[in-house]
Symmetry: C2
Subunit: 442 residues, 2 copies
């Protein structure tokens, strides 16, 4: 009897647990789902065979160690900062470890020990990072195998609304962690284009956009992610002249979002402590120059002359220009903005989310250049069975299943960038409806 | 025999040491000047009576403690981060402590002990902080004493070039720590104007300017300092509707400097690791959008349409658009920019620096509003006897002298915001040529 311990029973674990429960029916396996809230764990395992729900607190060392000792494989859906702790336990007790988080430096320090103990520690096996690595590497290695050279690689991902739920002027709602959305893009973005290194500071990010088209669902825009350069070595493209990773939004989103960035509303570096009579409008006004009688709208347009009626309408729709009580008086500007946005960008009962991903390659084959795009669109079923939960949870679940079946038989500290991992995994993802469409043009 | 230990014998200690040596001739005092480089300490004490030069390394606990034990008063000109260490020693051995640095939280934790041991720990007793506090408090308390109400207080300071040395298009050179100049203004600036809280993110700072005029030396511009709000309680102006502190530059400087801010050249958050063939022009280009044939100049103007010929001329004068080898290939953008600027903004042999400060008050007196400005201009003598060294060192020296003479007889953890301190100190500063000029208008 193989025991799989899943840590964290939030929404993102839905598909992970279901898939593993389903594939365990014909195999001797037990899936233990552990969460700080036992009710949550019970809810996520209800009606599923071969599962057990337990309560679990990472900070209680004894019970944590006991639980991990019982397992053969640990899948962590906990916040990334907890992974070194869990991974360390797994290393001590000789358990395999799977996560959808970035491989950290702390994890890399364990590399030698992981290999010595013949364990598999597989990270970055969710959506982004995860499906992006696997789908890109499959094309990169295929083209290299044909003797072709990849001269440009751009890759874009977005966690957005399904088109049928785009019922506000922003065509956007919070389909995942609102805090991450508000802070997205902070720092300096780095990439290389035609051999030229490019650096974009945060306050310039939302005006350095690319247009991205998807056949079925129309046009998007993308802003560059923080660090594209490090992917050159991950993907074995060390000398590629162009590499860029970016985040997708519906066209028009970024220019309006940039108003908040320019005013300083997304700043998370200091705490405001505002009087209790502060309104949304006063909050905005505190980032605008003083004037004895000019309105907030006029001052905004004077400071940012590119604000047009369409942008102003989007801003206005959020209620942020109204004299209604600020939802929060203490906290960083970003955390106050988040609270204002949550009132308007919350999901309605019937809303569905959507994951979009597109790889764009320029490939030179015997002196001839071709373009190749590979696109994924995945639409959620409802607010529990989201596209985000599906695309993050299924790759992990499939990886665990394939590993237990012996189809994946590599060990060590790995990313899913090896053909032995991504080929069977992508093929099973396709059966589950997560499928890329390729298009070539000259 | 009273022993005064001066830690740090850099340029800023010139006037401090001289003044204390002079005032020690008729008093039984010894001035021990300690520096990591004994030569530096010897150079700064050459020809001065009652002085002794020693070598000193903060990291050597035994010799550090021995030196501090010998002294009665310690004046620290070391970098601010070392002050808690030195202050702790002073507390342990019952020595008085004087510095021109900001009072830190670590220092505040010692407050009770300092009082219990009847010691004086006087911080923020240089120029800014220092002379700014004293000169402002003298006016604030005088006006309050007359029954008047201060309804607006703005205060501006600049460390600049003497007009006769303004021989480049920027009218600027590095007259003090270049790194601090390049990073100046980072973070979010906060102030209050007519009762409205105002917050300005860094990337908006250099376009939110005020014009400031000095009778003798003409027009300047000022951008807001990081935190003006906290000065309300320091100055006893808790309910003042307007308070703003700012930094002075020659008119036109800020808009050109803003080009670097907007491009991201002043970012200090990440390390670049550029190829050795990189030139100044390629460095600038790496912050501009890619285009197969547009020039750097054209791309800059497209990205920042407000760049006019005058601004471009200033940028060009720095050599930053030239295809000459970058002076540094590894480091943050800010540190690379600094190296480029140092080549052009270095002081020439005969250059003199200048300190300018202006307080602007709006005061209500029996229903009538008046404006009051108080201005200081201090021009350096040469590159050792700078205005910066004079305005930082003399207040400290005078404070020590007055304390030893018993004119200042307060103890505790203090700033020079008490009449018992600032009145005799400002009066002696005036004798030394550091003198404010007041002007009133209705």
């Amino acid at each position: 009897m193989k025991k799989i311990l899943i840590l964290g029973a939030g929404k993102s674990s839905t598909f992970l647990i279901e898939y593993l429960a389903k594939t365990s029916q014909n195999n001797k396996r037990l899936i233990i789902v552990a969460d700080l809230s036992k009710e949550e764990a019970i809810k996520r395992t209800r009606g599923l065979p071969n599962t057990e729900a337990v309560s679990f607190d990472t900070s209680e060392q004894n019970s944590r160690e006991e639980l991990i000792q019982k397992a053969d494989i640990v899948v962590s859906m906990l916040p990334a900062f907890l992974h070194p702790l869990i991974a360390k336990d797994c290393l001590n007790f000789g358990k395999h470890f799977f996560s959808a988080s970035y491989e950290s430096d702390e994890m890399r320090e364990m590399k030698f020990e992981i290999e010595k103990k013949n364990l598999l520690f597989l990270n970055e096996c969710g959506l982004d990072p995860g499906i992006d690595h696997m789908s890109a590497m499959q094309i990169i290695n295929r083209e290299k195998g044909l003797g072709n050279e990849i001269i440009s690689f751009k890759s874009f991902t977005g966690g957005l609304l399904a088109p049928e739920s785009e019922d506000n002027p922003w065509k956007y709602k919070f389909t995942w962690n609102p805090r991450n959305v508000v802070l997205a893009g902070q720092g300096v973005s780095r990439f290389i284009r035609n051999g030229k290194y490019k650096y974009i500071p945060y306050h310039m990010l939302f005006r350095r956009l690319e247009k991205i088209n998807f056949d079925e669902i129309g046009e998007f825009e993308a802003y560059p992610n923080r660090d594209s350069l490090s992917y050159r070595s991950v993907y074995g493209l060390d000398n590629i002249p162009t590499i860029l990773r970016g985040t997708l939004r519906r066209t028009g989103f970024c220019q309006s979002w940039d108003v908040f960035v320019q005013l300083g509303l997304t700043d998370d570096s200091f705490e405001m402590n505002l009087p209790n009579e502060f309104t949304n409008r006063m909050f905005i006004n505190s980032f605008l120059p003083y004037h004895p009688d000019k309105t907030v709208e006029i001052k905004m347009k004077e400071l940012l002359p590119w604000i047009n009626d369409e942008i102003l309408e989007k801003i206005r729709w959020l209620g942020i220009l109204e004299n209604i009580a600020l939802p929060k008086f203490k906290g960083s500007p970003a955390s106050i903005l988040q609270k204002i946005l949550e009132k308007k960008w919350g999901l309605d009962k019937d809303d569905k989310d959507m994951i979009v991903m597109q790889h764009q390659f320029e490939i030179e084959s015997k002196g001839i250049k071709k373009r190749l795009t590979s696109s994924l669109v995945c639409i959620g079923e409802d607010q529990n069975r989201t596209a985000m939960a599906k695309t993050v949870g299924l790759p992990l679940a499939i990886a665990v299943d394939l590993f237990l079946k012996g189809v994946i038989n590599k060990t060590g500290l790995l990313l899913p960038t090896y053909p032995e991992i991504y080929n069977p995994l992508l093929s099973e993802l396709q059966k589950q409806g997560i499928k890329f469409t390729e298009k070539e043009s000259l």
